[in-house]
């Protein structure tokens, strides 16, 4: 097969591109987590602010990815930085949204019990809200990761590298094995990330909650 031939000849390039791809999406999703989850927690008790934040995130989500990359160029130049920033913006919405939903779904009776027992706000967040909503938050992170891995292929157009390079070069050269390799690698990367994050989600969620959801 052509693909196998292509891979065996270019495996070093493929691995490099894959690593680039991983670092692009990894960094942006991580940034989105670090910023999105606390945003979700801090706005959960302010309905108006929450609506505004969600609306802004929704608007960002509707901007075509190519256009968003283009918008970032004047500020960040070309290369990895604008790509990471754009991907970060895309990842933000599902993470904030799921954090909000996760915390809102925590039974208010349990929060009241926690307050009544003398837990401080921070303790309630860390010992009650986070563990109880972790599976929903993790689901948001999974969605964000999978979306970003897909969109990151376009980042090649602003010179950010990644598996998009293979696809776009392949298109330019009408090299089908090259296109397929890039596409398959990107798709498998997405599936693999989803699988790994799924395991993390299961590990992080208490047994007391997992089975309840299935029931």
């Amino acid at each position: 097969m052509d693909i196998i031939g292509f891979i065996s000849k270019n495996y070093m390039t493929i691995i490099n591109k894959t690593l680039e791809h991983i670092s692009l999406t990894g960094i942006s999703v991580l940034l989105a987590c670090v910023i999105g989850v606390p945003i979700g927690f801090s706005i959960v008790n302010h309905k108006k602010i929450a609506n505004i934040v969600i609306n802004i995130a929704n608007v960002i989500q509707t901007i075509p990815s190519l256009a968003l990359f283009a918008f970032c160029m004047p500020y960040f130049g070309i290369g990895r930085n604008p790509a990471i920033f754009a991907l970060f913006l895309y990842a933000l919405l599902p993470i904030i949204k799921n954090t909000l939903i996760g915390i809102r779904n925590v039974n208010p009776a349990i929060i009241e019990a926690a307050r009544g027992m003398g837990m401080s706000k921070t303790q309630i967040m860390l010992k009650v809200e986070v563990p109880m909503s972790i599976s929903v938050i993790m689901a948001g992170i999974r969605i964000a990761t999978v979306t970003c891995i897909g969109i990151a292929t376009i980042a090649t157009l602003i010179g950010a590298g990644g598996l998009g390079d293979l696809i776009y070069q392949g298109i330019g050269m009408l090299n089908y094995p090259m296109i397929l390799t890039g596409a398959i690698a990107s798709a498998s990367l997405a599936l693999l990330a989803d699988f790994i994050l799924g395991i993390c989600e299961k590990q992080l969620t208490s047994k007391g909650i997992v089975r309840q959801e299935k029931a």
Binding site: N107, A109, A113, A114, G118, S206, G208
Partner: protein
């Protein structure tokens, strides 16, 4: 122990949800706040652990104004049990019970032995249940854990907000009994909110009937049943309620105070005069004591006069002395049983010093019955 002083709570500045409420709760007392939904009973309860802050007024626990204390410190020393249990679903039973002691940084060994002790008391053995999650337990078991969690930090005060209302009637009854047992064992001060008057009567040492943010009546269950202060309390309690809890009716409630007495030193002739005057054939024979009390000596009926020649014979010589003396606090059902068993028609009621208080006859029982049964009936 707990004093609520002129407490008001208003959310809109106009109407008071809780209105100038005063409440004194003694140490070790089980006080039930009862009322219709929206009457302010839960609001009142939540002000005691500052989940809700009063608009005005003070609350003291052990003489200390609770406003002067740190909120979280205060709450850690007050047990709190709510209707929806509120166990943490992501924590095991053991972790749930350990919540408050852990917040207070108690030693692990100390917490563990406390958990084992409490789980033993709520009859969920440690070996079997410690590592289970709340969802693996029945509603009743969960609420038991809820109670154990409230006890874990050894608080003096426990607040309970309709803790049993979501349970089925059988489980509810069980948990009520267990709670009474726990209360007996630990002697905690408990403030308990419910809308169920039956529950209030069963559990409370004292009941506060609340309406529109005010305490209408604050008294023992017996007093509230027997002497409701106004129509609201009467209708809330239910007119026929007393008969559903006959144990609350005691001998002194069904006796007649108009007992005809004769001193033991009186003669037959004098006694016959008294009988004629009062149109009766049975008299209680008494002996005068200090402070206008009279000791019951026996009973004498006119049949005892037959064949007595000497009309100067004293009553204390011919009276029936082996009468059944009914203690004033004997429950109605027991009185009825004794009367039936011993075929008694006149049962004198006495206090602890055997002073005569009154007499129970069929007529007196009927009189009480006719008073409590509703006066008017629509046909």
């Amino acid at each position: 122990m707990i004093i609520l002083k002129k407490i008001c709570k208003s959310y809109n500045g106009k109407t008071n949800v809780v209105d100038n409420l005063d409440l004194h709760i003694q140490k070790g007392e089980f006080v039930v706040l009862v009322g219709e939904s929206g009457c302010g009973k839960t609001t009142t309860l939540k002000m005691i652990n500052r989940l809700i802050e009063p608009t005005s007024g003070q609350i003291y626990i052990n003489g200390e104004d609770i406003k002067s204390k740190n909120k979280n410190e205060l709450r850690r020393n007050i047990g709190y049990v709510i209707q929806n249990v509120g166990l943490f679903p992501h924590n095991t039973i053991k972790e749930n019970i350990a919540t408050v002691p852990k917040l207070c940084n108690k030693k692990d060994e100390e917490i563990l032995s406390k958990i084992k002790y409490l789980m033993d008391i709520i009859e969920l053995p440690y070996e079997e249940y410690a590592y289970r999650y709340p969802r693996e337990l029945s509603g009743g078991q969960q609420q038991r854990v809820g109670v154990a969690r409230a006890l874990a930090n050894e608080p003096d005060v426990i607040l309970m907000d309709e803790p049993f209302s979501a349970l089925d009637p059988i489980t509810r009854e069980q948990l009520q009994d267990e709670l009474l047992r726990l209360q007996e064992e630990f002697g905690k001060t408990i403030v308990f909110v419910t809308h169920d008057i039956d529950e209030a009567i069963k559990l409370g040492d004292k009941i506060a009937v609340i309406c529109d943010g005010k305490i209408i009546q604050y008294d023992t269950p017996e007093e509230i049943l027997k002497n409701p202060i106004n129509e609201f309390v009467e209708s809330f309690v239910g007119k026929d309620r007393l008969w559903k809890t006959p144990d609350m009716l005691k001998a002194q409630d069904i006796m007649s105070n108009k007992v005809v007495k004769v001193y033991g030193s009186r003669s037959v002739a004098q006694t016959i005069e008294i009988m004629k005057k009062h149109d009766t054939t049975v008299l209680a024979v008494v002996e005068k004591r200090a402070r206008s009390t009279e000791k019951l000596l026996g009973i004498v009926g006119s049949n005892r006069f037959y064949g007595i020649e000497n009309h100067e014979t004293k009553m204390k010589d011919i009276m029936k002395t082996d009468v059944v003396k009914i203690p004033f606090d004997m429950p109605l059902t027991e009185v009825l049983n004794i009367r039936k068993e011993k075929k008694l028609r006149h049962s004198p009621v006495v206090d602890k010093e055997e002073n005569l208080l009154g007499i129970i006859t069929n007529t007196s029982i009927l009189n009480v019955l006719s008073q409590i049964v509703p006066e008017s009936e629509e046909y």
